[in-house]
């Protein structure tokens, strides 16, 4: 049994898996994991006409709503909880802001343009009716409303991919989708996977290393997509209540948790707290690492040194 690695491109970025297995099983395992990532991507992609998200968004403003299955209902529950726990800062209907926010252009949007979009954002406007089979009937009441699971979709896909790894019998391995990692188990000798956290201002360097034996690790920062205008940095995490980026938050935040979905939730909602992030994270029972604007390290994971 030796270490195998498989790289592929999905969910808008590089993806990889590393796992210990017999040589004759490796190819089958890689194919199964990649297939699951692509399944989730196809099902919830906002770019595809045949995705569940496209069907949901096409029904916006219509009286009959749309029927969704149990998997989608579970994701809606996650989105509902994130919305409630963030006091509305996180909103799965805030994707429409992409129409005015273009992080590649280097230009800020007009404030009026942002304000004009706000009526189309409102998770609390959604109506959901549970069905006996675990699915739901869903209504997006206003035309132009759109749902997307981009806020935690990658973390979800990472956990689903890890579940496939486990189902294939792998006990030592991990899946990495962008910066979101779901670990099945440590190396065969029990040693954890050592994961470097990207330096927020230097993509070539790691600012810290985190040891993960199992569970999820999610990282997010203001460097992923941002605009720097007049010396001010505008990160890609937008407060759904205002339509503008959160200000004065950490440069990056990494969280470990029993699943990547849980880790990503703390990570996203933590960054949405802006200046209050460290206070909000104070009682977090899961280990985290925050890098502040001055590149100081905070959190239980800050004790780890870069090897």
């Amino acid at each position: 049994m030796r270490l195998h690695q498989h790289e592929f491109h999905a969910l808008g970025g590089p993806c990889g898996l590393s796992f210990h297995a017999e040589d004759d099983a490796a190819a089958r395992v890689s194919a199964a994991v990649e297939a699951e990532v692509r399944r989730v991507e196809r099902k919830y992609s906002r770019y595809r006409d045949d995705s569940v998200v496209a069907a949901i968004n096409a029904s916006a403003g219509q009286a009959d709503g749309v029927l969704v299955d149990a998997e989608t209902a579970a994701l809606l529950d996650v989105a509902a909880t994130l919305h409630e726990q963030s006091d509305g800062r996180f909103d799965a209907t805030s994707g429409v802001l992409r129409e005015v926010w273009d992080f590649r252009s280097g230009r800020l949007p007009e404030p009026a343009a942002v304000t004009a979009l706000l009526p189309r954002i409102g998770w609390s406007l959604l109506r959901r009716r549970r069905l006996a089979d675990g699915g739901e009937q869903l209504w997006l009441p206003r035309p132009g409303m759109a749902l997307d699971f981009g806020g935690f979709g990658k973390e979800y896909a990472a956990d689903r991919a890890a579940a496939v790894l486990r189902a294939e019998g792998i006990r030592h391995g991990l899946v990495e989708l962008g910066g979101d990692i779901s670990v099945v188990g440590p190396h065969p000798d029990g040693s954890p996977w050592r994961i470097g956290i990207r330096h927020p201002r230097d993509p070539a360097r790691a600012i810290a290393a985190i040891d993960v034996a199992r569970g999820g690790l999610a990282t997010s920062g203001d460097y992923e997509r941002c605009l720097i205008v007049d010396g001010r940095r505008y990160g890609h995490i937008l407060d759904a209540r205002t339509g503008w980026p959160v200000a004065d938050g950490p440069a990056s935040l990494s969280v470990t948790a029993p699943s990547c979905l849980l880790a990503g939730a703390v990570c996203t909602l933590g960054l949405l707290q802006g200046a209050r992030a460290l206070d909000w994270l104070a009682d977090c029972p899961q280990p985290w690492l925050a890098v502040d604007a001055g590149l100081g390290l905070h959190g239980a994971l800050a004790r780890a040194e870069v090897a």
């Binding site: 509902a80 726990q85 675990g134 909602l269």
Partner: protein, 392 residues
């Protein structure tokens, strides 16, 4: 104010539903050591006029749980107990006619080993089922037990129905049975029986839930205590403890849990009514405060218990009853009891260390009704335990 820990608590059920159990292959092991010590029988209640030591038990319990696949769970419980000390033998009147306790002279020293295995299957939103098999062995006693339990959930998660059944088969071979010293003591006997229960769990609000359970137990065979006697004043002699060879009982319990302002602090209120066909009626009420934090957890609880006597019970008898039944066992006498328990635990990474103390005092003063002639053998005890567990 919302915080990160609140988010994790709120999200855990939704995340579980979305991605399944985060860690397949996650198990746990627990070890509990407990010391149970009964207070001495006071001289004023002792037939010998001297205080007498009572029972003491040291228990070692080991539990391991291991998931098997995505929806199954195996559990194993191993128990090793060392019991020593004297226990009540019979009650007789003293010179003033008040009941006093005669203790068994010999200090019993016995070991009990038990093993229980369980297999649980989880159907996710629909419910769970568990199969159990147990075996317990002492020098003079062995017991087999089989059980099957299930829980069915309503799909919106606010209501579920539980039910279970068990069956047991016990065999005893009392020490010195039929010996010259104890010619009346049974040599070998058995008892069998079963139980059934059914219950409803209802979530009332996001902070309240309620559980109502009805259970029944029936036993048949040798139900007397082979080591106890009853005293007949008329002939100044003793007869062997003799109880009916059947016993049917039922209990109705209501349990309530209320989550206080912050998640992690809850109020517990339980009540149980018990009745059997020997005439015993009992009430049990428990009030507790439970706290569960990310590092520390603790509980403080108070328990009140009250029972009426079995029809055929008496501290001693003027003459043998027509039906031949007789028992001076305090456990069939009328009395009440108050108990208190304190638990504390601390998490250290994957480990958890726990400790607890308990006290209990049985007395006629705590009984619901008035007790004309309290049994002198009513017991008080203290208990302390240490526990450690590890998650995988």
């Amino acid at each position: 104010m919302k915080t990160a820990s609140g988010l994790l608590l709120a999200l855990a059920p939704a995340a579980l539903a979305a991605t399944g159990p985060a860690q397949a292959g996650e198990g746990s092991v627990e070890y509990l050591y407990s010391n149970y010590h009964e207070d001495d029988l006071p001289a004023s209640r002792s037939a010998s006029g001297k205080a007498a030591g009572r029972y003491q038990v040291d228990s070692h319990m080991f539990r391991a749980q291991q998931p098997l696949g995505a929806s199954d769970d195996l559990s194993l419980d191993l128990t090793h107990e060392r019991m020593s000390g004297a226990s009540p033998w019979y009650v007789m009147p003293d010179a003033q006619g008040r009941p006093v306790q005669v203790m068994s002279g010999a200090s019993i020293s016995d070991i009990r080993n038990a093993i229980d295995a369980g297999w649980r299957h989880d159907w996710g939103r629909r419910g769970t089922a568990k199969l159990g098999l147990g075996y317990s062995q002492e020098e003079d006693y062995r017991s087999w037990q089989f059980s099957l339990e299930g829980e069915l959930k309503a799909w919106d998660g606010t209501q579920s129905v539980t039910a279970g059944m068990s069956w047991f088969d016990d065999r005893l071979e009392p020490t010195d049975g039929g010996s010259p010293l104890y010619p009346g003591r049974v040599i070998e006997a058995g008892k069998q029986g079963g139980s059934l229960y059914a219950g409803v769990i209802q979530v009332l609000t996001p902070r309240d839930q309620f559980r109502l359970t009805l259970s029944t137990l029936w036993q048949q065979g040798f139900l007397s205590d082979p080591y106890k006697l009853a005293y007949i004043t008329g002939s100044a002699s003793t007869v062997a403890d003799s109880r009916p060879d059947r016993r049917v009982s039922g209990a109705l319990s209501a349990q309530y849990r209320h989550s206080l302002a912050t998640p992690g602090l809850a109020l517990q209120a339980d009540y149980r009514y018990f009745q059997d066909d020997w005439g015993v009626q009992a009430h049990t009420a428990t009030l507790a405060l439970n706290r569960s934090g990310s590092l520390w957890d603790w509980s403080a609880s108070l328990r009140w218990y009250s029972q009426s006597q079995a029809d055929f019970y008496a501290p001693f008898y003027a003459s043998l009853r027509g039906d031949g039944l007789a028992s001076s066992d305090y456990r069939l006498s009328p009395y009440g009891a108050l108990g208190a328990n304190l638990d504390i635990g601390r998490r250290l990474g994957a480990w958890r260390l726990g400790a607890g103390l308990g006290v209990y005092r049985a007395s006629e003063d705590y009984a619901l009704g008035s007790v004309a002639l309290p049994n002198p053998g009513l017991v008080s005890w203290r208990n302390g335990y240490l526990q450690m567990s590890r998650q995988y």
